[in-house]
Symmetry: C2
């Protein structure tokens, strides 16, 4: 009997998923988004809230997140000039996804460790 | 003026998200889940539906996905013995997340390329 073979546009379906994952992947992007999201708006505060991140890496990741339109960098006209980081409204579109992943991750850990 | 510093349990929030991402990350896991999901239940059919995957890698990834309780491997009592792969019901819990990521990825591509 011939095997039925189902055409699968797998790689095309996966492409946009991959685009999304590229944004939230990596060690630091999510911690930074969360840190800025809870109110840390200064470079030093963000850095101190994320154990292990170096200023160089944080600067690079912030720039990346700015390019992804997730984080807004504002130069405050004060003396001395201050830089403030806040989440773009657009970043809220990521929130439900992050929480779905979080819930799934918690549940999955139980699932794979249960007998 | 002292800077307000917001405590952020960033790394703890990120941990289960990371656990979830570990499952769907990598080049092949999602294509395999999608391929099996659309009905490819034989090793060769899955392999042919995913351009570029080698039998060795597919075998390893299928074993991983079995351990994650996402894919079920069944030995069919026929002559010759056949192996069938199907999605576990549990894999459905991933579906809404994958589609959210897909929609977000499509939208994000527009967002970052628009002026």
């Amino acid at each position: 009997m011939a095997q039925k073979k189902t055409y699968c546009d797998c790689l095309n379906t996966v492409k946009p998923v991959r685009d999304a994952l590229d944004v939230i992947n990596g060690k630091w992007k999510l911690p930074i988004i969360i840190s800025v999201g809870v109110g840390n708006d200064r470079f030093t505060d963000i850095q101190e809230s994320i154990p292990g991140i170096t200023p160089k890496v944080l600067a690079k990741e912030l720039k990346d997140l700015e390019q992804h339109k997730l984080i807004k960098r504002t130069v405050l006209d004060e003396y001395p000039v201050k830089i403030s980081y806040t989440l773009e409204k657009y970043a809220n579109t990521l929130t439900p996804i992050i929480y779905s992943l979080k819930d799934w991750g918690i549940n999955h850990k139980k699932k794979v460790t249960e007998q």
